[in-house]
């Protein structure tokens, strides 16, 4: 009963993504991407990852739409109809192979919610039992992100900061 | 309490379905926006009140009411912005004689 509900959501996501590629006009593509991130966030919420869903809603639906709009506002949206060359032979061969490889690798991943998978045996119980004594943070996800993996998170933040600075530099030169 | 909330939710669902039919059937932007406004005002109201009744008196019910008030304030603003943008960019409204 529980797992059947994701399938219509995933189907809607597929339709939206295909529409965003196929649609002729860039504004509509931006709107479709907004709807896409709504659906993605619904899927996250359905799987129980409420924090990820919140971030997806904020970044995907709010910020990304506004940023895309700013980009369209800065460039010329009238001329940028999608002109795609037909795919070359290499693309036609390599990408299905890559897909098959990924599916093959995915068959090794333990099933969703499998109690015998390695992550569920060792790591999750430790985090769940000890995170409150260790860190005094009520939210386990926050504890994992900010305490157990704080170095990782810090370097991620550095990467995002660097990309932000790069964008600011590029836009400043554009403004002169 | 349970029966009442089920009645409210089913009524809200009925209005949502009607609004979706309207969104598909209506001929132009302006009249479609009426259908969307039907969703926002009555469908969402009935759904959320039904859910709040099901939840019972607690902090969550108050939060659901906050969502409801937000919807009531923000959705007319969005509908008005859409229709004004359509009007200012020179889209002609559908008249009765058109096909």
């Amino acid at each position: 009963m529980i797992f059947t509900f994701e399938i219509p959501l995933l189907l809607l996501m597929l339709v939206t993504a295909a529409g965003a590629i196929l649609v002729k006009d860039l504004m509509s593509a931006v709107l479709l991407l907004g709807s896409y991130s709504f659906f993605l966030s619904l899927v996250w919420a359905w799987l129980g990852a409420v924090d990820v869903a919140f971030v997806e809603a904020v970044v995907g639906a709010g910020l990304a739409t506004v940023l895309f709009l700013l980009t369209l506002f800065g460039t010329a949206p009238k001329d940028t109809r999608l002109r795609r060359p037909p795919p070359s032979l290499t693309t036609l061969i390599v990408f299905p192979l890559l897909g098959i490889l990924l599916l093959y690798a995915a068959s090794d991943i333990p099933g969703f919610g499998d109690p015998n998978s390695p992550a569920n045996i060792h790591i999750s119980p430790t985090y769940l039992e000890r995170s409150f004594q260790d860190t005094h943070t009520p939210n386990v996800v926050t504890a994992v992100l900010m305490d157990y993996r704080s170095l990782d998170t810090m370097v991620e933040t550095v990467v995002i900061f660097a990309s932000g600075i790069a964008c600011a530099l590029l836009l400043r030169r554009h403004g002169k | 309490m349970g029966i009442l909330s089920i009645i409210f939710i089913v009524a809200g669902l009925f209005f949502l379905i009607v609004a979706a039919i309207g969104v598909i059937r209506f001929p132009d932007v302006y009249s479609r926006s009426h259908a969307v406004s039907l969703t926002d005002s009555l469908g969402a109201f009935l759904m959320l009140v039904g859910i709040a009744l099901h939840e019972g008196l607690s902090i969550n019910m108050l939060k659901i009411l906050v969502v409801l008030i937000l919807l009531y304030i923000l959705n007319p603003v969005i509908a008005h912005a859409t229709v004004r943008a359509a009007l200012r960019s020179g889209l002609k409204p559908w008249q009765k004689g058109d096909s």
Partner: protein, 88 residues
């Protein structure tokens, strides 16, 4: 009650599909904007129903408040943009 809520969720998803048809098909950009708005309203309601279904309303309701605010921001930005540029 749980089965009833599940039926409500499935029918909301079908309704989202109807709006998605309008977003994909819409002759002008404003139709797509309206469909987007309708989709987000449905998503807010769907989130709260989902919260009831899981008995974790306190977590899900915060996302729906965030949705409602963000939807306003995005839609207003798009509408302002379209007012200035004119529709294609």
């Amino acid at each position: 009650m749980n089965i009833f809520l599940f039926c409500v969720m499935v029918s909301l998803t079908i309704l989202i599909g109807a709006y998605l048809y309008r977003v994909l098909q819409g002759p002008t950009i404003f139709d797509r904007l309206l469909g987007h708005n309708g989709i987000s309203t449905k998503a807010i309601i769907l989130l709260i129903v989902m919260g009831i279904y899981f008995d974790r309303v306190d977590m899900f309701i915060d996302i729906s408040i965030g949705y409602a605010l963000l939807n306003l921001v995005g839609a207003l930005a798009i509408a302002k943009y379209l007012e200035q540029k004119g529709h294609p």
